[in-house]
């Protein structure tokens, strides 16, 4: 990670900007939604590689204390994924290597089936907290 920051700095023009974009180690929110409104929601402590994110934080702090970059700003945002089925959500979680607390697939499927029986059109939404941070090359 330090190597990646060193390389980024090497190819960056003087006063160039480094943008670091990655998910936070924070619970994800899984929801059953109807017309974009949540009908059921649960926070799940499932993360992708929290140890990598901690190492990334340490590498960035090292780069700042080495005077490579100056921190400018951070912009937090929610990254959303919409799925029609539990199988699609499971595929997404596998692709993103989400692990930790299990996403309650059975519960999601049950809630979705109940709403479908009421002739509604429920979908699934997964929200993850991300952070975009910018740093100026010194």
């Amino acid at each position: 990670m330090v190597d990646a920051l060193r390389e980024a700095r090497r190819v960056m023009a003087r006063r160039g900007v480094l943008i670091d974009l990655r998910p936070l180690v924070a619970p994800i929110v899984v929801e059953v939604i109807v017309a974009a409104q949540p009908a059921w929601a649960k926070e799940v402590a499932s993360y992708s590689a929290p140890e990598d994110l901690a190492a990334a934080d340490a590498a960035v702090q090292n780069a700042i204390s080495s005077d490579w970059f100056v921190f400018e700003k951070s912009i937090p945002f929610d990254f959303e994924i919409y799925c029609d089925t539990v199988a699609e959500l499971s595929d997404y979680a596998k692709a993103r290597k989400l692990h930790g607390e299990e996403i309650p697939y059975d519960e999601l499927e049950k809630r979705q089936a109940e709403l479908s029986a009421q002739r509604q059109l429920p979908r699934l939404r997964c929200r993850r907290r991300w952070m975009l941070s910018t740093y100026r090359n010194k």
């Binding site: 990670m1 190597d3 990646a4 920051l5 390389e7 980024a8 090497r10 190819v11 960056m12 023009a13 003087r14 160039g16 900007v17 480094l18 943008i19 670091d20 974009l21 990655r22 998910p23 990334a56 590498a59 960035v60 700003k73 912009i75 945002f77 929610d78 990254f79 959303e80 994924i81 919409y82 799925c83 029609d84 699609e88 595929d91 997404y92 979908r123 991300w130 975009l132 910018t134």
Partner: protein
């Protein structure tokens, strides 16, 4: 409808808020199949997207580029050994790649 990823385009919006991309030379590390790259590509002078996954880079290379204003290239490379000379980019975007 199947799976929709960031349909509100929150991620490219955050990038556009964070830095002035107009006429910039951008390197995106971890560009994958270019899904994010294509969403901010209307402003920069040039974008080079790199990723270590060859299959994703092949997808990015053949994807339609309606929104690109300047030059856009994708290649298979690692962020820890960049195949570029010094001071070539105005912005380096590390896309979930630290």
């Amino acid at each position: 409808m199947a799976t929709e990823v960031d349909p509100a385009r929150v991620m490219p919006y955050a990038i556009l808020q964070a830095a002035d991309l107009r006429d910039a030379r951008i390197l995106e590390v971890g560009a994958g199949d270019g899904r994010l790259t294509f969403q901010y590509a209307s402003q920069p002078r040039s974008v080079i997207g790199i990723d270590t996954t060859e299959r994703d880079i092949r997808s990015a290379v053949v994807a339609p580029r309606k929104e690109a204003r300047g030059q856009m290239h994708f290649l298979c490379a690692s962020g820890t050994a960049l195949p570029f000379s010094a001071e070539q980019f105005d912005i380096v975007l590390l896309a979930s790649s630290l």
